[in-house]
Every structure is written in structure tokens, then in C-alpha cells.
Symmetry: C2
Subunit: 129 residues, 2 copies
Amino acid sequence: MTISEVSGKYGLSVDTLRYYEKAGLIPPVNRKENGIRDYTETDCGWVEFVKCMRGAGLSIEVLTQYIALYAKGNRTLQKRKNLLVAERDRLKERIEQMQQTLKRLNDKIDVYEQRIVACEKKLLKGGVQ
Amino acid sequence: MTISEVSGKYGLSVDTLRYYEKAGLIPPVNRKENGIRDYTETDCGWVEFVKCMRGAGLSIEVLTQYIALYAKGNRTLQKRKNLLVAERDRLKERIEQMQQTLKRLNDKIDVYEQRIVACEKKLLKGGVQ
DNA sequence: GTATTACTTAGAGTTGACTCCAAGTCAAGT
DNA sequence: ACTTGACTTGGAGTCAACTCTAAGTAATAC
């Protein structure tokens, strides 16, 4: 799979895909003899994983660390798990904060609705006079 | 209330507070004769609101727009409500995406736990031999 | 009366995460 | 043979959101 196909498949620009690889967010992508990237299913899996994690707000830095540990093999299992747990906890907290803000926005919108209705009533009354 | 007190109260740097005011994220703050900021309860309320919204990921730009509409008074009620609804919807989507990623992270962590246990068993067996 | 401390401003610098650009290679089509 | 188009690289540029700096003022402590 070429880089532009992968770009189309996951909705990431080719620049972003190259940047992710260069930054070490995904392991080095498989190449053809001439040096052109030829994404395997595994490569695509990494792209999808990184897209998902970035979408949830995990930083480039932490994902780079994860891949670096992954590249060191089995003896980093515990470290990788610890990293994931830390990020999971942070994500959970952010979600909870966002849920509170969502509730607050909903309440605010309700208040606006009431105020708008009240305004319209006033205008109607004015119109009748 | 001075800017550094407000900074302490809400955990925002004084630079950030001045930046928010300059950028129009909060209405102009009350001043003493000598030009020094003297935050009223209302000013603090705005700071808290902006902190909350920024914490949930609403952009500087959209919050600036909201304040600009607010400053124009009652005739912008509907526009303000529309803006809030749009941001609410975006927030909701982001939360849903993050919840899916949270679930995925939890599953991944479970898999790591199992692999780590399996590894330890192997090591123990090796030790017995 | 001077040193310290907290404030003021305009504007420059930093960080994270891309995004774009120039210059070059290579295979395919006419 | 030559153009076209997709790829390659290193490195520069951009954007949002701060964060810092320099130069200055004004009240308070010694």
C-alpha cells in the first residue's frame, strides 16, 4: 500500500504520515527496493492505532515513548503497561472534566432557551399594543 | 482582587489572565485609578467560565466570539445560543470518541496484564529447574 | 530616600503538532 | 526522448496558545 492510499484510508495527510514515522510514532515502514514506502497490514495497524490515540489527545511524545519501548521487545512489557495505565488515567480524568462541562453547557443552553422565549413573548405583546 | 490572587485562585498564570483579557476571552477587567486590575466577583466568574471551557477544549477563537456577542447585548441571544449548541455538539462527539479510546486502552492494558503474568510463570518454571 | 515588590504595557519567543517547499529520483505514457 | 505524476529527503514555515522579556510606574519596608 502506498503512502497516498494509506492517507486516503485513514484521513491523515501524507505529510503527517511521514512526520509520524520520522518522529517515531510508528515503527519504520516497510520499503520497496527503490526506497518508496509500501505499507503492510501491520504498518496500517500502527497508523490506525496512532490516529486513534492522537484523536483522544495522547501526545506525540508519549506515543513515541511507547513505540521506543515496543521496539526494545518483551522485557519492556511492564513499562509499556505502566505508560498505558498512566495515559488511561489521564484520559479518564479529561473525559470526566469534559462531561461536567458538557452538562454545564447544556444547562446554559436551557437558560438561553427560556430567555429567548421570554423575549419573544415580550415582543408579541408589544406588537399587539 | 489582584491579578496574582486570581491567578492563585484559579491556577492560571498572570500572563494567561492578561492574555485572555487582551484577546477578548473575558470582558475588560475592572481597574483601580492607577490602572491596576481589581477583579470583581463578576470578573472572577468570567475567568472561571473561560477556564472551564478551555479545559474542555473550546478554542480561544470561539470563546472570543461568544464574549463579543455577549458585549452586544440582548439582541444576540439567539446567536449566542447557536454558538453554544454547536460547541456542545462538538464536545459531545469528542467525549464519545475519547470514551471509545478509553475502552480500547483498558482492553489493551488487560492484554498486557495477561502477558506479564504468563511471562512471570515462565520465569518461575525456569527457576525451579 | 532608596530598595523591594507587585503591578503595567508592547512585543518577542517558545512549544506542540503539523504543513509546506525545493530539489531530486524513478517508472509509465506518448 | 521527454513529460507527467507519485514518490523521496531535509528543512523551513505556520498556527494556536501561551510564556517570557524589557522597560516603566507606584506603593510599601527599612
